[in-house]
Amino acid sequence: MNTILEALQYAFIQRALVGGVFIGCCCAFLGVFLVLRRLSLIGDGLAHVGLAAGGLGLFLNTQPLWVSIPLVMFASLWILWLSDKADVYADAAIGLVSAVSVAVGIILASVGRGFNIDLFSFLFGSILAISMHEVILSVALSVIVIGMVFLFYHELFAIAFEEEYARVLGIPVEKINKILILCTAVTVSLGIRVVGTMLISSLIIFPAITALQIARGFRLAMLLAAVFSTLSVLIGVFVSYLADLPTGATIVLINFAFFVLSFIIKKMR
C-alpha cells in the first residue's frame, strides 16, 4: 500500500494512470463494436497507417500527429469502403490498407533519405512517457468518443446486431459506420503516440472479448469492457512498479489474465 502511495507521488505515474484509463475506456467502448463487427484488427492496421503518415509528417517537417490523424481517418474510411462496397472481407481490407501504407511509408522514408529524428521513436509512445499535453488531448478525445458512443448507442447496437435490419429501422447506417470508424481512427492515431501500438491494439481487443465472455446484456458488456480496461491499466501500472517490469507489456498480460479468468467463469456457469 505504501509503495502504491509512493508511486502515486510521481507525476509521470499519475499521467500514465489518467492518460491510460481515458484512452483505455475509448478503446474498450469502440472495441465492443469493432470486435462484434469483425474489425478487431483495425487497431493494428491503422497503427501501420500511422507509421506511414508519421513518415510523411517528418518528411514535410511538420508535427507528425497533424499529418497522421487525417491520413489515418482517410485510411479508416478506405477500409470501410472496401469492406462495404467492394465486397472485400473486413480482415482482408485491413490487411490491404495497412500493407499499402507500410509500403508507402518505407518508400517515403527511402526517397526522403533521412530524417532529423528516428521515425519509430517519434511515433511510438510509451505509457510511462505521456506528456501533460497528451493527457489533455486524451481526455478531450475520450469525452468526444464516449459522447459519440452514448449519443449513437442504440444505432450502433442495432447495426452491430444486424446491419440490414438497422437499415429497415430507418437508421442511416452509412453515416453511423463512418462515425464509428472515424472515432476509431482518431483514437488509434492519438493512442499510438500516447501509449504505443502494442497497447492500443490490445486495449481495443482484450477488454471487449473479455466482456463478451461473461456479459449478460449489451449495456453490461460495454460497462464491463470499460471496467476491465480501467482495471488493467491501474493494476498494470502498479504491478509493473512493484515487480519492476515494463508497464505496457504488463498491462497486456493483465488483460490476458482477465480474459482467461472470464473464460473459465463462462465455462463453469
Partner: protein, 323 residues
C-alpha cells in the same frame, strides 16, 4: 515451362533494376581511379574520409537520422557494398546484418575492414560492477550479447580504429600507402589532443556520474575517464522499455545527487529522459553517441571531433566544471 522462364526473366529484371535505380540516385557516379569506400556508422565514415583525403570516395551507408540499431540494409545498400573496394563496419555486434550480407557478396576484390578487430570488447557485466548504481542496469540481457560495441566514443580506442582503417587502405592501395599512414598519424594526433582535453577538463569537474536518460553508449568513455553512469534502460537496445521503478529510482538519485542535468541520446525522441528531468526538476542535455547524425548535422558538415567537443562542453555543465 515457358511460363517459368518468363517469371524468372521478370524476377531477374526486377532484381537488376531496383537496386540499380536506387543506388544510382544515392551516390554520384564513381570516379575512376579512386578507392570506393562504404562505411556503416558515422564515426567510421568520418575517420575514413580523414584518412583517405582525396584518394578515395567515402560514403555512409546509414541514411541520416536513422537510429543505427533499427537500421536494415536495402537491396541498393547491398549493391553499394558489393560494388565498393573497401567496406568498413564496426563489428558483428553493432551491425548483426553485416555477416549475412558479407557471406552473400561474390566480389572477391572487396576488402572488409572490421574496425573492432584489434580491440578487446568490454563485457557489460564488468561495467555494471564498476559503478555504484548497479541496481539500475543489472540482471539483463541485451542485443549485443553482453559486450559493448560502442568503441568509438573512447578517443584512445578511436585511434586504434583509425590505425586499423589506415592499414586496410594501405593494403588495398599500396601506391598511396604513405599518404594514408601520414593522414592517419595527423588525425590520431588530433584524437590524442581530444583525449588530453577531455582528461584535463574532467579533472576539474566535481561530479563523476553521468545521469543518462537513454541507452548508455558511453561505457568505454566512462571507464577511460573514471566516470560512473546511471541509465533507466537495461542494455543498449532502443526497443526495450524502461520500468516505472527504474524511472522513479533515477528521479530520486537525481534529486539526491544535486545534479541539475540529465543527458539524452541523439536521434531518438528523449521521452523517458524528459520525464526523469521533469520529475527531478533537472534540465536536458545532449550526449551525442555519434552512431549516426541527423540530416541537419550532415548538411552542416559535422565531424566526430565536433560531436565529441560538443559533448565535452555539455559534460562540463552536468559534471560541475570549476575553472
Amino acid at each position: 515451362m515457358k511460363k517459368a522462364i518468363w517469371i524468372l526473366l521478370f524476377g531477374a529484371g526486377i532484381y537488376l533494376c531496383l537496386p540499380c535505380c536506387s543506388s544510382c540516385k544515392q551516390s554520384a557516379q564513381p570516379t575512376p581511379g579512386k578507392l570506393q569506400v562504404v562505411t556503416t556508422l558515422f564515426p567510421l565514415y568520418d575517420f575514413a574520409r580523414q584518412i583517405a583525403g582525396d584518394k578515395a570516395e567515402v560514403s555512409l551507408l546509414l541514411p541520416p537520422g536513422v537510429e543505427s540499431h533499427s537500421f536494415e540494409p536495402r537491396p541498393g545498400d547491398i549493391v553499394r557494398i558489393s560494388k565498393a573496394d573497401v567496406f568498413i563496419y564496426t563489428g558483428p555486434l553493432m551491425e548483426p546484418w553485416s555477416q549475412d550480407i558479407l557471406k552473400g557478396i561474390t566480389n572477391k576484390e572487396l576488402t572488409v575492414i572490421n574496425a573492432s578487430a584489434n580491440i578487446q570488447l568490454a563485457n557489460e557485466e564488468q561495467q555494471d560492477h564498476d559503478h555504484e548504481a548497479g541496481e539500475c542496469t543489472h540482471d539483463h540481457e541485451h542485443e549485443h550479447g553482453g559486450q559493448d560495441p560502442h568503441i568509438w566514443v573512447d578517443p584512445i580506442l578511436a585511434q586504434q580504429i583509425v590505425s586499423t582503417i589506415a592499414d586496410g587502405f594501405a593494403a588495398k592501395d599500396p601506391a598511396n600507402k604513405d599518404y594514408y599512414l601520414a593522414n592517419a598519424k595527423t588525425y590520431n594526433e588530433k584524437l590524442a589532443a581530444l583525449d588530453t582535453q577531455i582528461r584535463t577538463t574532467l579533472e576539474k569537474c566535481s561530479k563523476k556520474t553521468i545521469v543518462y536518460g537513454g541507452h548508455f553508449a558511453f561505457g568505454y568513455f566512462a571507464r577511460r575517464y573514471g566516470l560512473e553512469h546511471l541509465s533507466p534502460y537495461a542494455g543498449f537496445s532502443p526497443n526495450a522499455e524502461p520500468t516505472p521503478r527504474k524511472i522513479t529510482e533515477m528521479i530520486e538519485t537525481l534529486k539526491k545527487a544535486d545534479t541539475s542535468y540529465i543527458y539524452y541520446e541523439e536521434l531518438l525522441e528523449p521521452r523517458v529522459a524528459r520525464i526523469i528531468a521533469e520529475g527531478a526538476g533537472a534540465k536536458l542535455l545532449l550526449l551525442h553517441g555519434a552512431h549516426n547524425i541527423s540530416k541537419q548535422e550532415l548538411d552542416k558538415g559535422v565531424t566526430y571531433l565536433d560531436i565529441m567537443g560538443g559533448n565535452l562542453e555539455r559534460l562540463k555543465l552536468g559534471l560541475g566544471y570549476q575553472d
